[in-house]
Subunit: 224 residues, 2 copies
């Protein structure tokens, strides 16, 4: 490896793709820019990596600064370094992603520079919400990776898909939103129970408008 100094070089940034479920639809946490460049467009929360700062640490710091969201577990998606991806200069962005329960992470109120908002997938897909830079690519890649992660019948997640106590239907709705199609209720439940990852919370039921539902939690006291 060569080692020279002070050549013109790309800068390093991080960006985070946070997914959640909003109104039975997949949604992504984005920053609405109120200033140029890209005024009015949406962008992923992120920013420059400081000297001697780890990548995941930088992503968490920027996420907290820009959205107030903390206590999430990010997974690396990949690096995006196309020279033209940012018109202001050459930056290499390392992207992270995860899934969270939106209610557990209230987002920051908007200030005069930007505003953090959950944007429905339909608005992203439909071009209703225009994304800055190459963030549309990143978001799409992140969704593919999220699907791949939830597909694995072994680990079955590792993300914060649902609150600590949840009904199987709530969990199924998350899967359906991520995959963009309905799943068979019986197959979903039997497979999940066969994995032995969840257990019932005794005498706990979610009461609502209809028949109360059995509450579950993840086994091994590992929060998911």
């Amino acid at each position: 490896m060569k080692h020279t100094y002070e050549y013109p070089r790309p800068a390093v940034t991080v960006d985070s793709v946070l997914f959640t479920l909003r109104a039975n639809d997949l949604a992504v946490l984005l920053i609405r820019r109120r200033k140029a460049p890209h005024k009015g467009k949406f962008a992923l929360p992120g920013g420059f990596v400081d000297a001697n700062e780890g990548l995941a640490a930088a992503a968490l710091r920027e996420l907290a600064e820009e959205t107030d969201v903390t206590d999430v577990t990010l997974e690396q998606l990949g690096a995006y370094g196309d020279p033209g991806r940012d018109p202001r200069g050459h930056t290499v962005s390392v992207a992270y992603f995860t899934f969270v329960v939106a209610e557990a992470h209230p987002v920051k109120a908007g200030d005069d520079a930007s505003e953090a908002v959950w944007v429905h997938w339909a608005d992203i897909e439909g071009g209703n919400a225009e994304l800055a830079f190459d963030h549309a690519t990143i978001v799409h890649d992140a969704r593919v990776r999220l699907q791949q992660r939830l597909d694995d019948p072994r680990r079955h997640a590792g993300f914060e898909l649902v609150p600590s106590r949840f009904t199987l239907s709530e969990l199924q709705r998350v899967y359906e939103a991520v995959f963009g199609r309905t799943l068979d209720k019986r197959n979903f439940r039997s497979r999940l129970l066969a994995l032995d990852l969840v257990e019932t919370v005794m005498a706990a039921q979610r009461t609502g408008r209809h028949r109360p539902a059995q509450l579950y939690r993840w086994k091994n006291s590992r929060k998911r």
Copy 2:
């Protein structure tokens, strides 16, 4: 995304993990350093990304410069940015990997600074060949990803696993080296043929010390 200038920031490098099959063993293309730092240790071919240079392009350029290897298809592995990974300063390395037929890519003869060599996996694993920086981590991660890629029964590779004409046993040996265990010959062959990715080369047989073997090639004229 904030935009400030001339903070102390990490530099961006790329590193490539090239796998091949040598003497029925998995091997990795490494640079033996003849100069400090890390004199005598092995390192992945790689180096700094230039301004306005794409990441994959930088990886290919450094690979060509340091090993003479060209015409390979790199796949991104991920970014490694631990602040302490390079004692000389904070660098973020974007790692790439692939599998190639070593015979099709002769490596550079050693010069006085470094030498490109194929190092057997056993020497890496056994600590016989010490790797510089965090390159041991990267190499292990790359092998896991390579296994995952070859596991997928659909795409079944996309790498240059074998020469354009090959016997099924030759291909099987690649798989066995990558997974580190023997595979059942009948299962391997029947599954591969069922995928309809290969076809026989008529009247072509590889003759050797024993019974001649039928030669195959990848279908669709897509080289693999």
